[in-house]
Symmetry: none
Amino acid sequence: MLKKERHAYIMREIDIHNKVLSSDLSIQLTVSEDTIRRDLQELDDNGILTKVHGGALSKSFHFTLQNNTVYSQPEKKIIAQKARELIKDGMLVLLSGGTTIIELIKSLPHELNATFITVSIPTALELLDHPNGEVIFIGNKLLKSAQMSVGAEVVQRLSEIKCDLCFLGTNSIDVENGITDLDLEVIEVKRAMIRSAKKTVSLSISKKLNTVQRMVVCKIGEVDVLITELDPGDALLAPYHSKISTII
Amino acid sequence: MLKKERHAYIMREIDIHNKVLSSDLSIQLTVSEDTIRRDLQELDDNGILTKVHGGALSKSFHFTLQNNTVYSQPEKKIIAQKARELIKDGMLVLLSGGTTIIELIKSLPHELNATFITVSIPTALELLDHPNGEVIFIGNKLLKSAQMSVGAEVVQRLSEIKCDLCFLGTNSIDVENGITDLDLEVIEVKRAMIRSAKKTVSLSISKKLNTVQRMVVCKIGEVDVLITELDPGDALLAPYHSKISTII
DNA sequence: AACATATTTGCGTATTTATGCAGTATTAAA
DNA sequence: TTTAATACTGCATAAATACGCAAATATGTT
């Protein structure tokens, strides 16, 4: 890879994330960190980014550095680690929205080559950053609160595909009611996602276990895999074992 | 093999891969690397590629490096101010991608109530922040480099709608060739966008005036409104007045 | 065709550039 | 304060480049 190509790659990363880490770039571009540091130095000299300890920042958004206030991030990172093991090369994977899903995408190995389908704009944006694999967005009217496509058209198009895995970032799950959610339009889409997938994986931080919302997405038995940050043997998960075949 | 033939071959490679390596070309064309270097030097002097250590890159690489820096921000804000005047309540508005379009969205009045359609993920994300109006995303396979939907499905669905306005963030525009761009898949979509709109508005910072890329999106006559940060009477815009009805 | 002239090309050599590595210094975070 | 991560320095090496020159090729003129 030519130096200028690396520079272009780095600037694209900066445009998307407003920051880059030398260590990440070193792996993604398969060059030494020294080279990355020299690249960043050069781009800094050209005035198009700001080099800092550990990487570089966008000139335009200095202040958004510590904006990464993802709720319960450590737990979500653990869940992401577990979930990524399920995705193999060549799979067709359906992803919902939510910060847990974002963490999952961030943790995907760069060499993974799968096809991802989503209805969530932030999820799509994160997927676009993954160097391999294809990304398909099912569009239609966007729901502002959930930042995702909703409506009959989406449900229809989801019914036309058959995926290997469906990952749902889950707001509320309990043994009695299954997965529940608030918004009817969101629920319609999530149901369609579940129907079009061979296996449904629910990603839930333990705080959300045993909570209920107003409307049912699916019964607990329709969930094939439940992933939390807890040890599968944890007492909190005990009631779920009889209903869900795989708990990680 | 004649020099001109080599040049044609090199440019074709550049068109396809956006880069060439001197070492590769030397083998493919069975000439010495010196000759290749001299070829690349000549093509660089003609301004149709960018020679770098180890080979050459498409001119577009240079563009992407300068594109999203803070420098053009003021110009883009001015363009956004002018463009927003065109959007009225109740309109159906088609938006492309690009930072100029993002600026336009940011500058939209909160009380505006229009329906927006887009194929660009960052544009959609920005639109979702707007309190009023509806947002429709036309999805399909996403092109990573442009962060937008591409492919026949998108073109088909665009053909089914009729919008009031189409705003194009324009990379290159000149009187001879009209709006030009790099990527065939992007061009297909942009053409479809133009076809489905009653009026096409091109947003271009003046740096991009009189620049040409390899492939034509539309002739200059198909642009109904041209918006730059310049005064409409500016000398740079003089050649455009005879071809475009409205220049702001 | 024959010739003179200009251009193009390849090769050897000196120079420059790009990159990684090792050791040391510095910084940031626990 | 301690510790781990990151940065800097100098150096080694390989690759790429520039330069001069001579051979080969093309071009134009009579």
